[in-house]
C-alpha cells in the first residue's frame, strides 16, 4: 500500500486547505478515500446530538496534484480508505494559507508507517528573510480501514431532484440562514422551475419568507410521479443543519447549486472548479 502526492500551485494549495478547513468545521473525523483518479473526503457526524449534515468532497487528483501515485494494498483493490481527525489534518495544512508572510513552494502528502500509520504533510516554505526553504512536517495519525469494512464508507450518491437551481448570492444566503435558525427549528425550501426559490421559516409569532428570484434553473434530474413536468417542489429541513453547512464554508465561491427532492432532501453542490466539488445532503424533517 503506497500513496504520495505533491501540490505546487499556490492557488490549488489554498483551495485544498480551504476544503479541509470546511470539513474540519463540520465534524471531528473525516474519511479519506484515495482512488486512482480522484481523492474523496467524507464527513458524517452520525450522532443525534450534533447538527452537522452529511458533506463530501470529490477532487480530481490530476488537477491539484501534478504528482499523484496510489497503489492499493492488493492489486484487485480500487481504493485506499483512511480515517483521521479532520482538525489535525486541517491544522497541518494551515501553513498553506499564510500568503504574505511566507511563500509555500510545494506541499507533499505521503502515507507513512512510523509506529502507526499516518499521513505525512510536508510543506516546503520560504520565509521572506531567508532564501533557504524550510520544511514543515506534520504526521497526522490515520486509521487504515480494511477492505472488509468498506461497505460502510461508500461514497454517497448525488440524489435526484425535481427542481435544481443555481444561486449566485451565497454570502447573503449564509447570513440569512444563520438568522433564520433562531426563528424556527425547521426551514422550508420551495423552488419553482421558473427560477424562484423561497425560503420559509415559520414560528408561532412570525412567518418569514425570503424570495430569491431570477435564478438559473438546471434540468431536473428526477421526474415527478404525478405530472410529467414538475413546476415546483418544496422540502422542509432542520434549520440548524442548514446553518451548520453554510456557516462552515471557507471557500470564496459565490454560486451554489440547490436541488430539491420533494419531501426527501435538499441537495447542495458547490462547484469549486471543474472536477472539484463539495456536496451536501440535508434530509427532510416533518414539520
Amino acid at each position: 500500500m503506497k500513496f504520495r502526492a505533491k501540490m505546487q500551485d499556490v492557488l490549488y494549495m489554498r483551495e485544498f486547505q480551504a476544503i479541509v478547513a470546511t470539513l474540519a468545521k463540520l465534524a471531528k473525523d473525516c474519511v479519506m478515500i484515495l482512488a486512482q483518479e480522484r481523492m474523496h473526503f467524507i464527513v458524517n457526524e452520525d450522532h443525534s446530538s450534533t447538527s452537522s449534515p452529511l458533506v463530501w468532497a470529490s477532487i480530481a487528483a490530476k488537477d491539484y496534484f501534478p504528482e499523484y501515485k496510489m497503489s492499493p494494498a492488493r492489486p484487485d483493490h480500487e481504493f485506499i480508505v483512511l480515517a483521521m481527525s479532520a482538525s489535525h489534518l486541517s491544522r497541518s495544512l494551515a501553513v498553506l494559507r499564510s500568503g504574505s508572510t511566507s511563500s509555500v513552494h510545494s506541499c507533499k502528502l505521503k502515507l507513512k508507517m512510523i509506529q502507526f500509520p499516518c499521513i505525512s504533510v510536508i510543506a516546503s516554505v520560504v520565509s521572506p528573510s531567508s532564501s533557504e526553504s524550510r520544511e514543515v512536517v506534520h504526521d497526522v495519525p490515520a486509521t487504515i480501514i480494511p477492505s472488509s469494512d468498506w461497505a460502510a464508507y461508500v461514497l454517497p450518491k448525488v440524489p435526484r431532484a425535481e427542481i435544481v437551481l443555481g444561486l449566485p448570492s451565497l454570502r447573503l444566503m449564509r447570513s440569512l440562514i444563520d438568522k433564520l435558525k433562531n426563528i424556527a427549528p425547521s426551514l422550508v425550501f420551495h423552488g419553482s422551475a421558473a427560477g424562484e426559490l423561497n425560503l420559509v421559516s415559520e414560528s408561532d409569532m412570525a412567518t418569514i419568507t425570503t424570495r430569491f428570484s431570477r435564478l438559473m434553473p438546471y434540468p431536473a434530474t428526477k421526474e415527478s410521479q404525478q405530472v410529467a413536468s414538475c413546476e415546483e417542489a418544496s422540502c422542509s429541513v432542520d434549520s440548524r443543519k442548514a446553518s451548520a453547512f453554510f456557516g462552515a464554508l471557507q471557500l470564496p465561491n459565490e454560486e451554489i447549486i440547490i436541488g430539491i427532492d420533494r419531501e426527501h432532501c435538499i441537495y447542495l453542490q458547490l462547484d469549486i472548479r471543474n472536477n472539484v466539488v463539495l456536496h451536501s445532503i440535508l434530509p427532510a424533517v416533518c414539520i
Binding site: 448570492s169 447573503l172 412570525a206 418569514i208 424570495r211
Partner: protein, 272 residues
C-alpha cells in the same frame, strides 16, 4: 409588488429607504417581550414597558418616512424581539423596508429589500395581539422644580461607561449651584463613586434648573438606556421634585432626519 392603488386594503403603510437608524432604535428598546405600536397622523409610536417602573417609546414623525399612509388611528401589540430579529435578517447589508398593516387581527407585514441585491426580497408576517395600553407618565411642564439638561450623546455615553457597573443604585442630582449635575453610584459593598459635570462644560448644550432635585434609581433600569445612548446624537434629561426621570435620545439618520426614543424611569422610594 404593491402599487399605490393596492394600499386601499391596508390601513397603515410606511416605507423607509434605509433601515439602519430604525433598526438601532428598535434594538435599543428590546428589554421586554411585547411592544405596542400606535400609528396616527402625527406619526408612529412604539412603546415597550417593564413592570410599572420603566417605559421606552420611539417617536417617528411622518416626515422621517419616505412614504406614510394612515387610515384612522391604528394600534396593536407585537413581540418586539421578533421584530428586531426580522430587521436584522440581512445583517449589515443596507435594506429598504416597508411596513403594512390591514387592521385588527391581521399580521404586521414587513418587506425588506437589500439595496445591493435586487433579486432577493423578504416578507415577514408578524402576529399581532390586542393592545396593552401603555402607562401614561408625565412631568408637569409648569412645575417650578422642572429641571432640564441637554447634553451631547457621545459625551453622556462616555460618562455612563465609566460608572461603576456593579453598583446597585444611581443617584442623580441637578442643582443650580455647584456641582450642577452629579451622578453618584452606590455599590453592593457600600462602594461609592461619582461624576460631576459643571454647567459650563462643553458637554452641556442647555442647562435649565431652578431648584435642586435629588433622586435614586435602580442602576439596572438606567442601564437599559445604554443601547439608545450609544447611538444618540443628543440626550435630554428632565426631572422634577417627584423624581420621575424622563430621558430623550435623539437619533439621526444619514439624511439628517431625526427620530426620538423617550424613556421614563421611576425613582426608588426614599426609605430614610
Amino acid at each position: 409588488m404593491l402599487t399605490q392603488s393596492q394600499y386601499d386594503d391596508y390601513k397603515f403603510v410606511c416605507r423607509l429607504d434605509h433601515i439602519k437608524t430604525f433598526h438601532a432604535a428598535i434594538k435599543s428598546i428590546c428589554f421586554s417581550d411585547f411592544g405596542t405600536l400606535q400609528a396616527s397622523e402625527e406619526g408612529l409610536l412604539i412603546t415597550v414597558e417593564q413592570g410599572k417602573s420603566i417605559q421606552a417609546t420611539i417617536f417617528i414623525s411622518p416626515s422621517f418616512f419616505a412614504e406614510y399612509h394612515i387610515q384612522d388611528s391604528q394600534s396593536f401589540s407585537i413581540k418586539i424581539n421578533v421584530l428586531a430579529e426580522c430587521l436584522s435578517l440581512f445583517g449589515l447589508a443596507d435594506c429598504g423596508i416597508k411596513m403594512l398593516y390591514k387592521g385588527e387581527g391581521s399580521p404586521l407585514l414587513i418587506l425588506l429589500e437589500p439595496h445591493d441585491d435586487e433579486q432577493v426580497s423578504t416578507e415577514c408576517a408578524i402576529k399581532t395581539t390586542n393592545v396593552e395600553e401603555p402607562m401614561e407618565y408625565e412631568l408637569d411642564s409648569n412645575s417650578s422644580s422642572l429641571n432640564t439638561i441637554f447634553m451631547r450623546g457621545p459625551d453622556m455615553s462616555n460618562i455612563f461607561h465609566e460608572l461603576d457597573k456593579a453598583a446597585e443604585e444611581y443617584e442623580l442630582t441637578i442643582s443650580p449651584l455647584k456641582p450642577h449635575f452629579k451622578i453618584a453610584t452606590l455599590g453592593v459593598m457600600q462602594a461609592e463613586s461619582s461624576v460631576e459635570v459643571a454647567k459650563s462644560s462643553d458637554m452641556i448644550i442647555l442647562f435649565n434648573c431652578h431648584a435642586t432635585t435629588v433622586a435614586q434609581y435602580k442602576s439596572q433600569q438606567i442601564r437599559l438606556t445604554n443601547k439608545a445612548l450609544q447611538v444618540a446624537t443628543k440626550v435630554a434629561i428632565k426631572t422634577d421634585a417627584s423624581g420621575l426621570l424622563e430621558m430623550h435620545f435623539m437619533m439621526q439618520s444619514d439624511a439628517q432626519e431625526e427620530m426620538y426614543v423617550r424613556f421614563f424611569i421611576t425613582p426608588l422610594l426614599d426609605i430614610s
